[in-house]
């Protein structure tokens, strides 16, 4: 089941009353959406507020989402509209959306609009998290690091990674999982237990 189908499954569950399913989508897209909205909004705290508002709006609008587009495209449009309305309400100028191609927007930032997304409190945490991820990555056995890099950075499918690394697909799947778990283990003390922080 591809990435888009997974989103679709989660959306359908949310549309049938499963809020947890929506929270899984939030976990997946919260940072990407925040990044997108940072192109419009300067202040880090405001970005988070608007991002949250966008998610709420998306949740309310779920019944009208039919799956004609990918979920994230639909979510990003809601995000951009929320941000623009916010700017207008604050009396600030909102950039015209013709300047942006949604497909470009989700991954490639226009340099002049890049803003620091972090509050001072976030800055420290983001350094610690990034540090931990990077440190653990470097300490991983080579084949685990390669596998997760080809997946997360190059966006390659398991089949292609298997070809490049000269191993079976099952090995690729296992290596990526082991790399993720190794890093996640180091991160967990920082993120708090599931009970208080994440769910």
């Amino acid at each position: 089941m591809g990435d888009r189908e997974i989103d679709q499954q989660l959306v359908e569950r949310a549309q049938h009353g499963d809020k947890h399913a929506f929270e899984l989508l939030v976990a997946k897209y919260q940072r990407k959406l925040g990044r997108l909205l940072s192109r419009f909004i300067r202040d880090a705290a405001e970005i988070e507020d608007v991002t949250q508002e966008a998610f709420i709006k998306a949740y309310r609008a779920l019944p009208s989402f039919r799956g004609d587009s990918a979920f994230y495209t639909w979510l990003y449009r809601i995000g951009i509209n929320t941000a623009k309305n916010y700017l207008v309400a604050m009396g600030r100028r909102a950039p015209t959306t013709t300047e942006f191609d949604i497909a470009d927007a989700e991954t490639f930032e226009n340099g002049e609009q890049l803003k620091d997304v972090n509050t001072p409190e976030n800055e420290l945490m983001s350094k610690q998290i990034a540090n931990t991820v990077n440190q653990t990555l470097q300490e991983l056995p080579d084949e685990l690091r390669t596998a997760i890099t080809l997946r997360e950075i190059e966006g390659l499918r398991y089949e292609d990674i298997a070809t490049i690394m000269g191993c079976p697909i099952g090995t690729v799947r296992s290596r990526i999982f082991r790399a993720r778990e190794a890093i996640a283990e180091k991160l967990r003390p920082m993120l708090g237990t599931s009970k208080d922080k994440r769910w």
Binding site: M1, E23, R157, S194
Partner: protein, 171 residues
């Protein structure tokens, strides 16, 4: 199982296994934690930026106050057949790509967490993500001469040269 969550988020689980995994996600907190953690790791690697620690909690609070949405019943999506995943033939003499952390051979100790000079720079602290060989400049200079980008843009593509010695930092 957590390893299923890993494959699930990459879109690499077959239909039935995927549906099972999604169902389990609802039931088991440990699996939801894994989903959260693994997505965070990917975003950190790509330097997408992070949100506050309590972002999820705050949003959950707001969502809790929302009336549950119920979409009108619609026919289920077509279940697409997943092609059988082929196993790549093992290739002789394909080197397993290994990462090497290269020595920084300048005398100065670079503070890898130093914020960049640009106030508009991207969120995360600059860390050497994939340290580049200190000789890269020489290769790049030699390469640029023959790259069509030089023919079309003159000396502009030379901006790709890194500064000497220090590992490349992403800003």
């Amino acid at each position: 199982m957590k390893h299923d969550i890993s494959a699930l988020m990459d879109g690499e689980l077959e239909q039935d296994a995927a549906e099972t995994a999604i169902a389990r996600l609802k039931q088991q907190e440990e699996l939801r934690d894994a989903w959260f953690d693994y997505h965070l790791i990917g975003d950190v690697m790509r330097q997408t930026g992070i949100v506050s620690a309590d972002f999820g909690e705050r949003l959950r609070g707001k969502l809790a106050m929302e009336p549950v949405v119920l979409a009108p019943r619609r026919p289920l999506l077509q279940k697409t057949k997943i092609a059988a995943l082929s196993v790549a033939a093992s290739l002789a003499a394909v080197a397993v790509v290994a990462w090497v952390v290269l020595q920084n051979n300048t005398d100065k100790a670079k503070d890898n967490l130093a914020a960049t000079q640009q106030s508009n720079a991207a969120a995360l602290a600059s860390l050497p993500r994939y340290p580049l060989n200190s000789n890269v400049n020489e290769y790049l200079l030699a390469h640029q001469e023959f790259s069509p980008s030089t023919t079309m843009q003159g000396v502009a593509p030379y901006v790709r040269t890194v500064s000497d010695g220090a590992p490349e930092t992403n800003r």
